[in-house]
């Protein structure tokens, strides 16, 4: 019962604004504000995912994570496809982890 109720409520959250948009047009100011929701949410989700990243057992992980994110952002800034951005970021992570590990022993 609880799962059905949460599912019904969640579906309403997902669909009602989409279906209502054809009939009710938000004020331009509201529409403009909604345009700023994606960067706020995406950056918050990215930070949350980084904080959830499991660093146990891997030395110098913080530096490697920072390098991975920097490489990813640099590639994204050049408007490369997401797959390339992720592959570059992960490659940056492993390179940095290896490099720092070799330098610091």
């Amino acid at each position: 019962m609880a799962v059905v109720l949460v599912g019904a409520g969640s579906y309403a959250f997902r669909v009602v604004p989409l279906l209502a948009a054809g009939r009710v047009r938000p004020m331009p100011a509201v529409e403009r504000l909604l345009g700023h929701v994606p960067p706020a949410v995406l950056s918050a989700l990215a930070v949350t995912a980084v904080l959830r990243h499991d660093a146990s057992g891997r030395p110098h992980d913080t530096v490697a994570v920072v390098v991975a994110l920097a490489v990813g952002m640099a590639l994204a800034h050049r408007r490369l496809p997401v797959v390339v951005t992720v592959a570059g970021g992960i490659a940056g992570y492993w390179s940095a982890a290896l490099g720092v590990g070799l330098v610091l022993g």
């Binding site: 799962v3 929701v37 994606p38 706020a40 989700l45 994204a76 408007r79 992960i90």
Partner: protein, 243 residues
């Protein structure tokens, strides 16, 4: 006023089929890194579900709730013996952010059919939402965007469901894949980076990130809602400062 039409006046069926195939491939490919990134999360949800004493409702939640955070929250409350009201309120709080996602897509999909919106809404989660935003930035018809979204969202839906089932059957040991979880934040940064070129977008992103760090101890989903509030205030102030 100009309206986008779904089909050209003299449609070439070969071009149409190629266009659909191209969008299906592009949508599925764009979702692939998210699938890789979310795989450990899906396996963890599945392994917890496998150990749960509420396997039936927990499994149904995979499709009825369709979201890792809300699924885990509901499973945890089931195990703690929480009441109906507590489970429903918590679940709805965690998923309240979906209202914002839907509201931000509504202006972009104003010319889409109600049937599509009903299906698209059911598949709406962070990755599909972010890819819909990214696809809107590129040229294409309403049909192109519809096909791209459905291909991407269904790819995630199928893979997520499969991985939860695998996790349920195989246990937690499958989720120990090093550094793969970093694919998710890199994917998200790839989508958010273009908006950093403008001051309000950069202000919203910086505020959202800062609030997410400060509010990380709060229940799942709450930090995102607070990040949205902070981001909107920061973007509004930056917007006023710019103009």
């Amino acid at each position: 006023m100009l309206f986008t039409t779904d089909t050209p006046q003299a449609p070439d069926t070969t071009d149409t089929r190629c266009g659909v195939r191209r969008e299906v491939f592009a949508g599925a490919l764009a979702m692939a890194p998210f699938v890789v990134g979310y795989a450990p999360f899906a396996l963890i949800v599945g392994s917890i579900l496998g150990e749960s004493t509420h396997t039936g409702p927990g499994l149904a939640a995979t499709w009825l709730l369709y979201g890792g955070s809300v699924h885990l929250a509901v499973l945890r409350l089931f195990e703690e013996g929480a009441g109906l009201a507590a489970i429903v309120l918590t679940g709805l709080l965690v998923n309240l952010r979906l209202l914002l996602y839907s509201a931000t897509l509504a202006p972009l999909w104003r010319d889409q059919r109600p049937g599509f919106l009903a299906v698209a809404g059911a598949l709406l989660v962070e990755p599909s939402w972010s890819l819909a935003q990214a696809r809107h930035e590129r040229p294409g018809s309403a049909r192109d965007r519809r096909v791209h979204y459905l291909a991407a969202a269904l790819t995630l839906w199928v893979c997520w469901s499969g991985l939860v089932l695998v996790g349920m059957l195989a246990g937690a040991r499958l989720s120990n894949v090093p550094s793969v979880d970093l694919a998710v934040p890199i994917c998200l940064l790839a989508v958010v980076t273009p908006s950093l070129r403008q001051r309000p977008g950069a202000a919203a992103a910086a505020s959202g990130a800062a609030v997410a760090v400060v509010a990380r101890g709060l229940p799942a989903g709450t930090s995102v809602l607070l990040a949205v509030g902070a981001g909107l205030v920061a973007a509004h102030l930056a917007d006023r400062g710019t103009s």
